[in-house]
């Protein structure tokens, strides 16, 4: 299973939010490129970058940081936040992102999703945020009645190669990932699933690795705060996920 150290960019800085709340922010690096270089230097195989400003504005706001990350690190990285049209997706990929992560717009605008999937295939990841088995939209501010498992199955059949699944209630808490929810989601699709939310300790990663043996499409996990707080190192995390 692949470790994705997370780099959330807000106001040009690398920050972490608690449960997606902009009022509960911790700044870790003045320059997100420092965070990227640090995780890359420690052996990360893939990075996960979120443009929080872009998510709020509805279009990418940190293209320059993406370009600088591409220049500074050797490992591939994916970028999400505010992608709502094909042009923004193309701009991010041109700026050096290996993959793009699309959230709300993928669920609201099927034409947009079909267009970018047709154009960029496996380079498109769809982010599905959930609370109690139901999909949440718009940075978690809008709850829906859409069932997460059904949503993932449907979008997978429409050609989405990979999902990023965040369990909102545990995100940023370091209290452990939502293992049973992740298991149900991963079981419902052959597409790749990257887990996000709640990782605090190496034991959490080991539990996910065990789950990944049963559902091999559970192929990665995003870790944010636990790495910034030095609960474990990138190398230790990679070892735990083996």
């Amino acid at each position: 299973m692949i470790l994705y150290p997370a780099i959330d960019i807000r106001g040009g800085q690398a920050v972490r939010l608690l449960q997606g709340d902009y009022a509960h922010e911790t700044v870790y690096d003045a320059d997100p490129v420092d965070a990227a270089a640090r995780w890359g230097g420690e052996g990360a195989e893939f990075l996960h970058v979120v443009d929080l400003d872009g998510a709020k504005a509805g279009s990418p706001q940190n293209l320059d940081a993406v370009r600088r990350i591409a220049a500074a690190v050797d490992c591939p990285f994916q970028v999400g936040g505010g992608l709502r049209d094909a042009k923004s997706v193309a701009a991010l990929l041109e700026a050096g992102a290996t993959r793009v992560v699309i959230g709300t717009a993928a669920l609201r605008d099927p034409d947009f999703l079909d267009t970018v999937v047709a154009e960029h295939g496996e380079r498109v990841v769809v982010s599905v945020d959930a609370r109690g088995g139901k999909v949440s939209l718009s940075g978690w501010t809008e709850a829906t009645e859409r069932d997460v498992e059904e949503t993932v199955r449907e979008l997978g059949e429409r050609g989405v190669a990979r999902f990023l699944c965040t369990e909102i209630d545990v995100d940023g808490t370091m209290e452990g990932p939502a293992v049973s929810e992740l298991s149900r989601i991963a079981t419902s699709t052959p597409a790749g699933v990257i887990a996000s939310g709640g990782v605090g300790h190496l034991g959490d990663l080991k539990r996910l690795a065990v789950l990944g043996r049963v559902t091999p499409n559970l192929e990665g996990v995003i870790v944010g705060r636990a790495l910034y707080e030095k609960n474990f190192t990138v190398a230790e995390a990679i070892e735990a996920l083996r």
């Binding site: 199955r153 991963a186 079981t187 419902s188 052959p190 043996r213 049963v214 091999p216 499409n217 192929e219």
Partner: protein, 210 residues
């Protein structure tokens, strides 16, 4: 020399994902029902999604039943996937019943899921019942992705693998140059690609010995 594989198109199924998976492991694959193209291939994949009686009608309509039997007779490796595997057996009870191609021994019947939700959709570990070139490098217990309501009941001689869903069911079969898997290797991550790559290896080998 790498093998060329024909993916038989009888109008039922998800052919592109099989083609993409083969391309991914470096195999040249062609979706076709043209006898000339199929005869030029070193291996044949019979895919398929849906109900077996209707699929058999289509297979016969396009003359693929005779073509498949001919290729089998010529020693060309054949791999059935999901419904394609079921078609290789002798018969099914689905929708009032139908004959199959009869290249593998046994009938196809409803999954005995013991109250679990049918169709069986998801990942299940597969236990190999014997060694095979098809499963080389894949440990017994490797999970594969399934979507099905029916499963074959192969003869002991043809049984290659089984899985558990409510009860144990056969999910892989092999007889000489005929292979079949109930799961979807093209949707089963790295393990599925390995199985397809093994199949391509069998095709390439039969090419050099032919």
């Amino acid at each position: 020399m790498s093998a060329r594989i024909a993916i038989l198109d009888y109008g039922m199924g998800n052919l592109r994902s099989a083609e993409k998976a083969l391309e991914h492991v470096g195999v040249s694959a062609r979706i076709s029902r043209d006898p000339v193209e199929v005869r030029a291939a070193d291996g044949v994949i019979l895919p398929g999604v849906g109900a077996m009686p209707r699929a058999m009608e289509r297979v016969r309509e396009y003359g693929l039943d005779e073509l498949i039997a001919e290729r089998r007779g010529a020693g060309v490796p054949i791999l059935g996937i999901c419904l394609g595997l079921q078609l290789l057996f002798e018969s099914t009870t689905e929708f009032g019943g139908s004959d199959g191609l009869g290249l593998l021994e046994g009938p196809v019947g409803e999954l005995d899921a013991d109250g679990l939700k049918v169709p069986h959709i998801g990942w299940s570990p597969v236990r190999w019942e014997r060694e095979s070139r098809l499963t080389e490098g894949l440990p017994s217990g490797t999970p594969f992705y399934f979507v099905h309501s029916f499963a074959p009941r192969p003869s002991a001689a043809d049984l290659l693998g089984s899985a558990e869903y409510g009860s144990r069911f056969a999910c892989a079969a092999e007889r000489e140059n005929v292979f079949g898997v109930q799961f979807h290797p093209e949707k089963s991550s790295a393990a599925g690609l390995r199985l397809l790559s093994n199949f391509a290896g069998i095709c390439a080998k039969s090419l050099t010995t032919a």
